[in-house]
């Protein structure tokens, strides 16, 4: 029999026992819905975690330090022992920064600028750390729930305060937005030998010479408070966070603040007056490019580190999580497949005579088997389509319920369920496959019926 005729007969047969077949199809739909809802939850949570982590800027970034300064990330332990002969260490300076920026797939290269400062507000003084944040941090999740606004421009003379620090300035933190604060900080200045020679004060001249060509000058800078945030936008890797006042990175760079590595350079005799960076962060186009950029930087003679391994572990965790969700979801579909077997076995008993007539008219065993297969497959197909829709609705309801709960907790809503096209297509294909497997026994039994006995059946 041709496929189209088979399909027509199957649908006609399903329509005849509409209630029973609808209930069986509904059973399949519920099974598929549970599978889709479970997996959509897994996919949704994975997508949510991935997007949050991507927003954190940890997985598309390579962190670079000079080999001379390298410590294990997050620690200040002793330097690595190495039997290799000492190599000429490259300073992490402006030319290195330019080299990194020229590498393929690099979007941005920026230094970590963190320095100690005194913040003056309403004649009170507070000691704290200032951190320069790059423009790319605008999308960081820490700024999602900002009170006030993000920096109006990359060069705006504005500051964002960390909430705990803001509370020290004023208990009514919201009122701080738009107010002015003054930063008092140490500016690092390169001093040429001519300048030193012109210096009349011999004590001062000696001091400058001993400092190896840099001078530290106290400066002040007035900034407007643009916003207040709860969490640290740069927390997470190697203790690089810890800022309580945040400035646009370009503004922070223009201040030329003296940092801890300036002293290190001096102590190690490298204080040539050229500014160097404690560390540089390189942002790449896509997390996929991280390894390639990391290798290129290592070849240039610097230490490079990324969190890609952590991302890999996360993917593994989610794969196992999805597997378990899928297994639980499949249980309902397995129960539904028993319903298909039951319905089709009943149909064989009821339609025994019909099978006999079909065989008397020339239907082969294969035709009869295919007809029952087509009926099982049609129940799987309709159940699968309906189940995907139902599963999507359940996912939407879960997202809706979660969003309401999170809003009550004063947290932003999140989409925890997501049904990608491949999940919908696989769920329908899986439902059809399970239905066909469930139809194996009834279809085989129908095909084996002896036509004479079947025709005799009342």
């Amino acid at each position: 029999m041709k496929g189209r005729d088979l399909g027509e007969l199957a649908v006609r047969n399903l329509r005849e026992a509409i209630l029973r077949n609808s209930l069986t199809t509904l059973g399949v739909a519920v099974g598929v819905a549970s599978l889709v809802a479970m997996l959509s939850l897994g996919v949704g949570l994975q997508t949510l975690a991935s997007s949050r982590l991507t927003k954190s800027g940890l997985f598309d970034a390579v962190f670079v330090t000079s080999r001379r300064d390298f410590r294990a990330p997050g620690g200040d332990g002793p330097p690595r022992k190495s039997s290799a002969p000492p190599e000429k260490f490259k300073p992490l300076d402006e030319s290195a920064r330019q080299q990194f920026a020229d590498l393929p797939n690099v979007v941005d290269v920026y230094p970590q600028i963190r320095f100690l400062t005194d913040v003056r507000y309403q004649s009170n003084s507070y000691s704290t750390n200032v951190l320069g944040v790059p423009e790319s941090s605008r999308s960081a999740s820490a700024f999602d729930s900002i009170t006030g606004k993000y920096f109006s421009s990359p060069t705006a003379e504005e500051a964002i305060l960390q909430a705990d620090f803001a509370k020290e300035l004023s208990p009514q933190t919201a009122n701080l937005v738009g107010q002015e604060i003054t930063l008092r900080y140490a500016e690092r200045r390169a001093v040429s030998s001519d300048e030193i020679a012109k210096e009349k004060d011999i004590d001062k001249q000696l001091d400058e010479m001993m400092s190896g060509g840099i001078s530290i000058v106290s400066r002040e800078k007035k900034l407007r408070i643009a916003g207040i945030i709860e969490s640290d936008p740069s927390a997470g890797i190697g203790g690089f966070g810890g800022g309580r006042v945040f400035l646009p990175l370009r503004v922070a760079e223009q201040l030329h603040p003296a940092q801890a590595n300036d002293v290190q350079d001096f102590v190690r005799g490298g204080g040539s007056g050229k500014p160097t960076y404690a560390a540089l962060t390189i942002r790449v186009k896509n997390p996929k490019n991280v390894l390639q950029v990391e290798d290129a930087i290592k070849k240039l003679g610097f230490n490079a580190f990324s969190l890609l391994d952590a991302a890999r572990s996360l993917r593994l965790v989610f794969t196992v999580f999805d597997l378990f969700l899928g297994l639980f979801g499949s249980l309902a579909l397995t129960v539904a497949s028993l319903g298909i077997i039951n319905t089709l076995v009943m149909a064989i008993l009821e339609r025994r005579r019909e099978i006999g007539v079909l065989k008397a008219l020339g239907a082969t065993d294969g035709d009869v088997r295919s007809l029952f297969f087509a009926e099982a497959g049609a129940m799987g197909l309709f159940g699968g389509i309906f189940g995907v829709a139902l599963g999507w609705l359940i996912g939407q309801a879960l997202t809706w319920g979660t969003t309401i709960y999170l809003r009550r907790q004063e947290l932003p809503g999140v989409k925890i369920s997501y049904v990608p096209w491949w999940l919908a297509a696989s769920a329908i294909a899986f439902a059809v496959a399970v239905s066909l497997i469930a139809g194996l026994y009834p279809a085989g039994r129908a095909a084996r019926l002896n036509p004479v006995e079947a025709l005799r059946y009342e």
Partner: protein
């Protein structure tokens, strides 16, 4: 008029059924030849083995021993696929209880053998219309079997048996569920078909007068054996 060319040759055919420990021999070492274009009535009382013999010749069942040759091929040696093809291409069947599928219209019932034979749709509707016209049921094509009388149902079943233009028509007690007048109409229709299409008809019946009136030849069965067979006078059939 029947030719002298043998169409079906049953040769020492036996068919046993096992009922627990007991073996029942429904057809017992029976041999029979049927010529092309013949109207043969298999006559016998209940349990004489006539329906079993019909099922064997129609390819619905296989003999326990012996051979049934139809157009030179032995049905006993065919696999289930081969038997299905034989039923689809060579045979048409009419049953006592009509066996129209209740969920289909008359037209769809008649179309069923053509679907199984994978005939094109356009050709199908032409042949269905032709078959229904032949049994004078054209206007009832959209009716379901439950909306038809017994005679109409049997005529519908006859149209379904004819639609594939088979060489042999098997009829198992075609008048068994009909009143005598309607039964006679059905047999007249069978005769008309035999005369116009030259089809071979093999009919099982236990009604001797009808068999004598309409068949060319009568084969009498008893206890699974062929006990008598005789040709009818042509004049007696009018």
């Amino acid at each position: 008029m029947p030719s002298t060319q043998t169409l079906i040759h049953a040769e020492n055919v036996s068919r046993d059924y096992r009922l627990g420990e007991t073996v029942i021999r429904a057809v017992n070492d029976l041999s029979l030849e049927i010529c092309s274009g013949e109207f043969l009535a298999l006559l016998g009382s209940s349990g004489s083995g006539k329906s079993t013999l019909l099922n064997l010749m129609a390819g619905l069942d296989r003999p326990t021993s012996g051979a049934i040759h139809v157009r030179g091929q032995n049905l006993a040696a065919l696999d289930s696929q081969g038997l299905a093809r034989y039923r689809r291409e060579t045979v048409g069947m009419v049953f006592q209880s009509f066996n129209l599928l209740p969920r289909m219209t008359l037209e769809e019932n008649v179309e069923l053998p053509l679907r199984l034979a994978e005939v094109d749709r356009a050709e199908r509707s032409r042949r269905v219309a032709q078959a229904l016209e032949r049994v004078r049921l054209g206007p009832r094509r959209q009716h379901r079997p439950s909306e038809l009388s017994g005679g109409e149902q049997q005529r519908g079943a006859l149209a379904r048996a004819l639609v594939n233009q088979p060489a042999i028509l098997f009829a198992d007690e075609p008048t068994g569920n009909l009143d005598s007048a309607t039964g006679e109409q059905i047999l007249l229709l069978l005769r008309e078909i035999q005369d116009t299409l030259g089809m071979t008809i093999i009919m099982v019946t236990h009604e001797r007068p009808l068999a004598e009136r309409f068949a060319n030849r009568i084969a009498v069965l008893s206890d699974g054996r062929l006990v008598d067979q005789f040709a009818m006078q042509t004049g007696a059939r009018a």
